[in-house]
Symmetry: C2
Amino acid sequence: MYGLPNSLKMLSPAEEQVMLAVWRCTPPATGAAIAKELVHTGWASTTRLTLLTRLEQKGWLQKEKRPGGTVYLPKITLRAYRVYTARERLDTVFDGDLSALLSALLSEHRPGLPQLEAARALLQQQMDAQIEYDWYDPYG
Amino acid sequence: MYGLPNSLKMLSPAEEQVMLAVWRCTPPATGAAIAKELVHTGWASTTRLTLLTRLEQKGWLQKEKRPGGTVYLPKITLRAYRVYTARERLDTVFDGDLSALLSALLSEHRPGLPQLEAARALLQQQMDAQIEYDWYDPYG
DNA sequence: TCATTTTTACTACATTTGTAGAAGATTTTG
DNA sequence: CAAAATCTTCTACAAATGTAGTAAAAATGA
């Protein structure tokens, strides 16, 4: 449901920054809005534009010329990208081991209780669903 | 405690594969053992060696010539790298939001109950520690 | 130990990535 | 609308990355 089209390879770090900036904008993201989201990079405007163009060529964005300025529409949702990148790390570096990943995250970081509680609830919910599934599935 | 030395920038995908292969070996990792861990890549042996050399230059590995063959010693532990890369994704793509990351992981994947239970236990443990900390810390 | 196999060092090169100047097109503003 | 400010396109280029050949060195086997 959330996989990326096969043709989309991994983003380079600079490209990723641009995509994240686009996703941060209220759509449709205008050139100016994206620029604002990228001030922290200190890039020349041409650098930003080069990256936007490359992202369009690679199929991550769709550029649309409108009166008042060009807008850039993500072809991939942030949600899909998150699923993809999280999964990629889990499989590549953590051998698919969810608790190993979690443990790495917690080992340096002290998320607040609400964060932790929310995360735990998610897992609990997943577990409940799983149990129900096992219970009712005739092939389980 | 687990941060990478600042001088170490991110690994490229190919370099990461090599480091993962080295970590998979029982130390000390010999050239042959590493090669075995990388058969799936289909790389020419020179490709592998080029990458090993680059990793040494960049400070990820230490090469040691021994009678019987060179061995490669990781200067960075797998554990440290995992912490680093997990954290990097969390901050960059998930805005530091742990449950967002978790939710991305669960949305496509159906880890088994033991996996989920282990993960939940980890969180629970972290929460307990947190609560205790809040309770006793005079500055909390 | 000498030929055979394996490993390593050095070199090479195409592709991708990071970064931006010059110049033309567009938008904004007085 | 004309001048000023901004945006976009095209072009460029150095550095990093992916990939491997050639030849020298080391290990192995007979």
